[in-house]
């Protein structure tokens, strides 16, 4: 059985990617399961999707804790502990990572002993939503049991309702990824179904049953949501060029949906990067175009380089 876990952010097409991959396996004669997993959060927040494919009926259920392949659409998720990207990755697993850098560097950085395949990142904005489809295309090639026509047919089937243009761009991206990882075709191996006796209980913590006052005490503090770091959702970062800024912060700070632009005493704006979700509305409404959009990946790399 192939057990494949896709990781990305809401809006990067992870769910669509898993549907495409599932349908492609199905077209190649496999039994298939595919299911996305996401919480209450929205676009930009970490999510995953789980695909199982086997030549015999699949009896396993639920999230994949021992993956044969982890396909990561957005490498910045490695810094988000809750995303749990590397859960269960061992020497036998393959990590497919969409991003920059070479496989050896990533293996060293992540201390992995298994195979790492890097899928060069696509263009930043327009193709971001196709990350899931790109990873599906690459995963299909890594498995080595899905042909080009089978991949194309799966995309046509899954995107039929979105029209011919969306289908064509998605197909082009998925095929580009399918071709890009050709040297690694077949590197992904099926693993055996897990024996029930091998089941390891999750590492959960048992909480004693307590009265509601203790288990869920009343909270009187205001605006506690600031404890949630929605800045981790961001794939693009707004950056103010203060030399060009007109100090008209009533514009950008009012139009930021997330209350993430503070107005300083001198009427200049300050972006709260712990909470900015990277919608880029401020970039599009700033009259003198004093805010630019920077890929979060590049911004973090720059910060790392500047750190002592």
């Amino acid at each position: 059985m192939y057990r494949i876990r896709l990781h990305g952010r809401g809006g990067q097409g992870i769910k669509t990617g898993s549907r495409i991959l599932g349908s492609a396996f199905f077209g190649a004669g496999f039994e298939v399961q595919d299911a996305p997993v996401y919480g209450a959060e929205r676009r930009g927040a970490a999510m995953s999707a789980h695909v199982r494919a086997a030549r015999t009926p699949i009896r396993e259920r639920g999230v994949i804790t021992r993956p044969d392949l982890v396909a990561l659409v957005d490498e910045t998720l490695l810094q988000v502990p809750a995303a749990n990207v590397l859960l269960g990755v061992d020497a036998a697993s393959v990590l497919l990572l969409q991003g920059n850098g070479d496989a050896e560097t990533w293996r060293a950085r992540l201390a992995l002993s298994g195979t790492v395949v890097v899928l060069p990142a696509a263009g930043e904005r327009a193709e971001a939503e196709l990350g899931g489809a790109r990873c599906a295309g690459a995963a299909a090639r890594l498995a080595g049991v899905i042909s080009r026509p089978q991949l194309i047919a799966a995309i046509a089937q899954e995107l039929a309702s979105l029209g011919p243009v969306a289908t064509a761009t998605t197909t082009a991206q998925a095929l580009a990824a399918y071709d890009a990882v050709a040297p690694h075709a077949g590197v992904l191996r099926e693993s055996r179904p897990a024996a029930a006796t091998a089941f390891a209980a999750p590492e959960w913590i048992d909480l004693p049953l307590e009265s509601a006052r203790v288990a869920a005490p009343a909270i009187f503090a205001a605006a506690t949501s600031v404890e949630v770091r929605t800045g981790l959702w961001r794939t693009m970062r707004p950056e103010i060029d203060y030399a060009r800024c007109n100090r008209c912060a009533w514009i950008c700070s009012t139009l930021c949906p997330d209350s993430a632009i503070r107005v300083r005493a001198d009427r200049s704006p300050e972006i709260d990067l712990e909470h900015c979700k990277g919608c880029m509305i401020c970039v599009s409404v700033c009259p003198p175009q004093a805010i630019r959009a920077l890929p979060e990946r590049a911004a973090r790399a720059r910060e790392l380089a500047a750190a002592p």
Partner: protein, 304 residues
Amino acid sequence: MNPALRRMKDLPSTHLLGAGSAMCAGCGGLLALHEICDLLGARTVFVNAASCMTLLASYPFTPFRGSWLYTAMASAPAGAQGVRDALDILSERGRLPPEQDLTAVALTGDGAATGIGLSATAGAIDRGLDFIYLCYDNEGYGNTGQQSSPATPLGARTATSTGAHGHPASKMDLFAIWVAQRPAYAATVIGADPLDLARKIDRARALKGPRLIHALAPCPPGWSFDPAEGVEIGRLAVKTGIWPLKEYVDGRVVHTHVPHPRLPVEEYLKRQGRFRHLFEPGRDTRVLAQIQSQVDAYWEQVCA
């Protein structure tokens, strides 16, 4: 008009709604809510019906400075009634000084406002309930994956309107339904025009009785557009006349902005994936003409 709200510059520069909430990046509903909170102040009780915004306050986190009550989807106005009654009882018994009184605000999506919650709303208006009903309208059941609601516009593709011509019915006119019941106040707003919105909230705040604030809420995933374009799409909704900005006060409807020249509706439609099938692969001239003629007819009647 409040002389303190003449220019954009006069808008509040500190923001009351906390960051860190679970709405999508670029949510047009959140944009309107954050602007509204700055004018309403902290002394509010938001009464929510099941919707995207239910995720705003999930224990132990809340972006609000005041209280929050979550009700069943049909019941926000009934919840607001209970809150108002409780406050009134406290006041009568001298246990709530006037300066500590709170405003009850029903906060729901269009699905609750135009569909399942409409009957509870009609009852609350009929009883003259002193509350503000804030409907953020993303034109569908957003939280469950954007199925059609009565507020879905003609021609839009939704999870349940997948036919070649999109949604077959026209958008329900919630504002007109409210006005027919002679409420204390009703207004349409949009986050993309914060000054117009601020003046209306300022006016609504000073009144008593049932008050509607109906905010069009561009929704990146539901309408399928890049979140960066949310404000521009909102402005186009106003400039094309698709979303008339108006208020009902003292028994009269007044348009607070008459678009002139009025842009063709296509300028608004073509920016959104939910209308893409009207342009690709071929133009759906019938539906496009129908949408334009509905908007034309509206403004002819306004300007007559």
